[in-house]
Symmetry: C2
Subunit: 339 residues, 2 copies
Amino acid sequence: MKSSAAQSVSGLSGKGYTAGIDIGGTKTLILITDSSGHIVVRNKRPTVQVQDAESFIAGVFQQLDEVLQEVGLLRDRLAGIGIGFPGAVNPQTGMIHHVPALPLDGMNLLELIGPYYDGPLYLDNDVNMAALGECWQGAGAGSTQMVMVTVGTGIGGAMILNGELHRGAGYTAGEISYFVVDHRPEETSGSVSSLEFGRYESLASGTGIGEHARRWLRQQHGQVGEHIIAQAGRVEDVQAVHVLQLAAAGDMDAQTIMQEPIGYMAAGIANIVSLLNPERIVVGGGVSESSYYMSELARRVQQFTPIKAQLVPAQLGNEAGALGAVYGVLQTFRTPAER
Amino acid sequence: MKSSAAQSVSGLSGKGYTAGIDIGGTKTLILITDSSGHIVVRNKRPTVQVQDAESFIAGVFQQLDEVLQEVGLLRDRLAGIGIGFPGAVNPQTGMIHHVPALPLDGMNLLELIGPYYDGPLYLDNDVNMAALGECWQGAGAGSTQMVMVTVGTGIGGAMILNGELHRGAGYTAGEISYFVVDHRPEETSGSVSSLEFGRYESLASGTGIGEHARRWLRQQHGQVGEHIIAQAGRVEDVQAVHVLQLAAAGDMDAQTIMQEPIGYMAAGIANIVSLLNPERIVVGGGVSESSYYMSELARRVQQFTPIKAQLVPAQLGNEAGALGAVYGVLQTFRTPAER
């Protein structure tokens, strides 16, 4: 395929470089890739903290310019820019909603970005971008039916079905943080708001694992769990990472703690498998680096559904979203002959 | 749009009539429509009960010939035949799997049907067909992001996403009968087989509602629930329909009984909404005829997810699948100019 890669260098207006930007609630990562998708420079820094949308976008482009300067490029040498946002984005209109972490709710991103860049621009949700990235260069490569599940502070989801991102009628598809896998019949009231921590993520995210671990440890007597507490220093500081490390090393208490969050996570993933019959489920976030977690998760998913799917860890780590943003540009703006 | 309908009469090889066949585990429905999709004859009878695939298909075509005879048509006057099966069907290859109710598992339907009909043939899963039917002439009309959920003896699902049926990597998408919405952390073992009654449907199907009602009634004392038992004659004969009728009439005991299965159903539908962000959820089966059921279901779904979707009852009843089979033929074999 070298010839087609060489073609695309000249094909993308002869410019060849693409910027992929992943804006998270806390960090913003910018990658510049050449026309083959190889990263030539990367830059990660705290996300701009300002109150208004205009200053926010100005800050993002200031960071971009500084990154470009490092490699002696100017914005107009870019074949395109892809940007992922932690919210519901309509790539066609540029409208963004449900973006609690940034001062952009209800804004039109195309209008905001227009003054800074008038070349090919691909905008989307950050988890959609991560799924695109994994599908391009990572654990989803070769699959046209793939679901990405990210497990970190929260839980996110994105789907590539029949080779295309499924975004949903209101561009909020993949909001699996709200999954209900633990309904009790006696629970007949209650309500959700779109801003609160989702029910599924309170049970099964990294945050949820930490909370469950601390609760469990406080209920023990004698020396049970002492070595887990020792890892962190004190029980208040025990996080998911401590429990996962010990569970992987064969520690029985840590494995006991992990059963509950893995069980809930497995129920949700089994539901995705039963509903969508994807070829592959790509699990991202810190937990996916634990082979103990991944193999236990696969075992439990099989207890919940007879439908088969490959369960694999993500491969691109924190760069999946920014790489997906690059891929979004290439997919959207390359002519068919260049692909 | 009259002119385009008139065009298609001549367009479909000048034949104009299409057969839609919905093969269920117990009943087989055959519809013949004219080129505008209007039904000219309908025939429903018990599904052929034989042990081998060849005799089964022969029986289906015998029924078809008898229906055609009623209106003075021969098979070769048909512009096409659509057939829905209760199993996982690959419409391209004609392979069928997971079809416990019929002697067809692992067979190639195209090969079996070839000797009887060599015109345009559209084969698919029965719930997919029902979703196509509702999307064409029923509750899904005008929507390109629609999920169909059928609640009867069991629970089935099908999805039209971005205007196309989503069938999944192994053509089993929509197997929501296996949904887990009631996981308990203490439940760490167990297994599923592809043949057993799904967990979700044991809680929330019509069958599940009946079982829950009888269990609930047996636990009561005094006169509680007596009027429900009176509807059926004796507690052993109480079915979902009795409880739904009384609940709709304002009976408190019946409404109490319905809370549990509606709660479980709502959790599963909320999960579909959170994951896929569909525009519309079409609920089919007997329960959907109860406005009490539908409004309670909508209320409970909103307690589980902040993502909005329209929840509407199916409109085509038992004819949705056969009409969808007709639509599948028209969609697949009409030229773009004829659509």
